[in-house]
């Protein structure tokens, strides 16, 4: 099947008509170049979106409280709503298996020290489920567990950067650090994909914080994830129901937007998903458009090539070339020009993206890259494109009659 002489013939023909070949390849190279860059930029935008949400589970719901803005049932506006442990328990019981993970959060900002190193960190007092909600990755040791909650142990899990700041060269695990004058044992070190700020946090059991700081059962915020089996609409109606029930529970007007705030990530996720889809479609349409323009360009030039080589094809036929041999010459030339120039376009595109990555970062385009799948897909597309572009001209060439071609001009 592999006929080295045929390839030699074709490369000779391409080589002897270099300008023409380069010109015809240019359109395809340019089409692929544009496509690659567009695709990369779209990927970069997607990455930016993905990063914005990667920090938290995409089925998260955040419940926060504030002051009422409306008088309701004899209660005045401006009343402060405070969540307590019983509210956490209420949600857990009321909604059962609609809730996947749930945790309370108490925020503190505490001056922390170990030996001579000290700094101020955000401290979050949480339930064990918080690990899954926040996508916290344990590097050393363990996370807060149920036993810590029950026994109100004085343990903390510290972020990677806290570890780096305070412990320098020693290992943090098992050491005691000082949080506002109280000694806590470090039982774990975590990392988080959400960025540096997320790794400058200290977690402790919610019960410990309630006992040590104020001896109450207050909660600042409740985070939960809904059961992932729920679809988008179910998730939205779930959070709406949750909002309504909480408002009733605290005797807050239904129309009060400040007193109890429920934020459902499903809405954002859906918007981002739609946007990504739209973006992909636009890129595909533009990409295919340019590619088709490229194919038409090659096809045009191949028709011209056939016209120009009419005499040569006539000579070949007079010397005994069969129609399919003529077809394969023209077709392969078209495929080779298309594929090579397509690859040149792809390489330049990837190069441009590589060079532009640092600049693009400022425009919310993160890590714009082209996947291997795309490269393979592009190869197949290019070969098909080359075949399409060359087919009609090749057919035309094979029908050239030698007497017509050889007629003395």
């Amino acid at each position: 099947m592999f006929d080295i002489d045929l390839w030699r013939e074709i490369f000779q023909s391409i080589n002897k008509n270099r300008t023409r070949s380069v010109m015809s390849g240019f359109t395809v190279a340019f089409a692929i170049l544009l496509f690659t860059i567009l695709f990369g930029i779209a990927n970069g935008l997607k990455n930016t979106f993905a990063e914005a949400f990667v920090d938290d589970a995409s089925n998260s719901i955040f419940v926060q409280s504030g002051r009422t803005t409306k008088a309701y049932k004899g209660l005045q506006a401006g009343r402060r709503i405070q969540f307590k442990n019983e509210d956490y328990d209420y949600i857990k019981e009321e909604f059962g298996d609609k809730v996947q993970y749930i945790t309370a959060r108490i925020y503190k900002n505490i001056n922390t020290s170990f030996r001579n190193e000290q700094n101020t960190y955000d401290v979050r007092a949480v339930h064990p489920d918080h690990q899954y909600l926040e996508k916290t990755l344990i590097r050393d040791g363990r996370y807060i567990n149920q036993k810590d909650l029950e026994e109100r142990t004085k343990v903390v899990v510290i972020g990677r950067l806290v570890d780096e700041d305070l412990f320098l060269k020693t290992t943090a695990l098992g050491k005691y650090i000082n949080l506002g004058g109280i000694q806590y044992k470090v039982v774990g070190v975590f990392t988080d994909d959400g960025g540096d700020n997320e790794e400058r946090i200290i977690y402790m059991p919610v019960t410990t914080a309630q006992q040590v700081y104020g001896n109450n059962d207050y909660i600042d915020q409740i985070n939960l994830t809904y059961n992932p089996k729920m679809d988008f609409d179910q998730a939205i109606s779930f959070s709406n129901l949750l909002t309504k029930k909480l408002k009733d529970r605290f005797t807050v007007a239904r129309s009060d937007q400040r007193a109890i705030r429920v934020r459902n990530m499903a809405e954002g996720t859906k918007t981002v998903g739609l946007m990504n889809f739209g973006l992909s479609m636009i890129i595909l349409v533009i990409g295919f458009g340019t590619l088709i323009a490229g194919i038409v360009g090659i096809s045009n030039i191949m028709i011209f090539v056939v016209k120009e080589r009419t005499k040569e094809i006539g000579i070949r036929k007079a010397l005994g070339a069969q129609p399919k041999q003529i077809v394969s010459i023209i077709l392969l030339e078209s495929i080779i020009i298309t594929t090579i120039s397509g690859y040149v376009g792809l390489l330049i595109g990837v190069g441009v993206l590589d060079l532009a990555t640092p600049v693009l970062k400022d425009y919310f385009i993160k890590d714009p890259s082209v996947s291997n799948t795309l490269v393979i897909g592009a190869t197949i597309t290019l070969i098909i494109a080359g075949t399409l572009a060359g087919y009609l001209p090749a057919k035309k060439a094979s029908r050239i009659k030698p007497i017509v071609a050889l007629r003395n001009d």
């Binding site: 036929k317 007079a318 010397l319 041999q325 007497i403 001009d409």
Partner: protein, 233 residues
């Protein structure tokens, strides 16, 4: 070698048709050297094209070396052309981006020979026309006479049974024409059957037989005393 009887051919021109060949009968034996003469429009080129399987007759019989040539598929015609026929054209018809050696090797490529073997045979034929030193030159770097010799080498390369020459000296000056004719005579001396279309009397007289066409019929078919081109050079 070649047997043609009652051959007709007409071309459609607009609504009317032009009857170009009106019943040609022609027999050519092995080793003959025949000139087909006639003014333009006499049908001599059409006849040559039909003999060369570049065109097909409307009716009549054409048998080449015992093989009836009729209703050939394009593929079959290509194979026959490659095996039986060698073409020499007025305007040489070399492929301009291939050097002399590659041009001569082209029919061998279509015979499916290996590259090494092609090059060897092509070189042998180039040597025969005295162009060994020019093997790697492009047609544009060669003179008209040299180009026609390359074309002859190419026509010979596939070792055809019949050599067809369409005005082989039409684009050459007298001196070079005679050189080429001398060479063609040599080939005939070696036993090749040769058919030359020409409208020049002196060239025709260098053949052994002259067939005169007028208005699509053979007017005259005579054997002549061959004039050796060498004396004229």
């Amino acid at each position: 070698m070649l047997k043609i009887s009652n051959l007709h051919k007409s071309y459609a021109i607009g609504d009317s048709s032009l009857h170009v060949l009106k019943g040609i009968d022609l027999n050519i034996d092995d080793g003959e050297m025949v000139a087909i003469m006639g003014s333009s429009g006499s049908g001599k080129s059409t006849l040559l094209n039909i003999i060369g399987m570049l065109d097909e007759a409307d009716s009549g019989e054409y048998i080449l070396d015992g093989l009836p040539i009729k209703n050939l598929t394009e593929k079959k015609a290509a194979v026959y052309r490659n095996k039986f026929l060698g073409f020499i054209f007025q305007s040489f018809n070399l492929i301009n981006y291939k050097n002399a050696l590659e041009n001569v090797a082209l029919p061998l490529y279509y015979q499916g020979l290996k590259r090494k073997e092609r090059q060897k045979q092509a070189m042998f034929h180039l040597e025969k026309v005295g162009l060994t030193d020019w093997a790697h030159h492009l047609p544009k770097e060669l003179s008209g006479g040299q180009n026609q010799r390359v074309a002859i080498a190419r026509a010979l390369a596939a070792n055809p049974k019949l050599l067809l020459a369409d005005e082989p000296t039409g684009a050459l000056d007298t001196g070079t024409s005679y050189e080429i004719m001398e060479f063609i005579q040599q080939l005939n001396d070696e036993g090749k059957t040769i058919l030359i279309v020409t409208h020049e009397e002196d060239i025709a007289n260098m053949c052994k037989r002259i067939v005169r066409l007028r208005d699509g019929v053979i007017m005259e078919d005579t054997f002549v005393n061959q004039v050796r081109a060498k004396q004229n050079v």
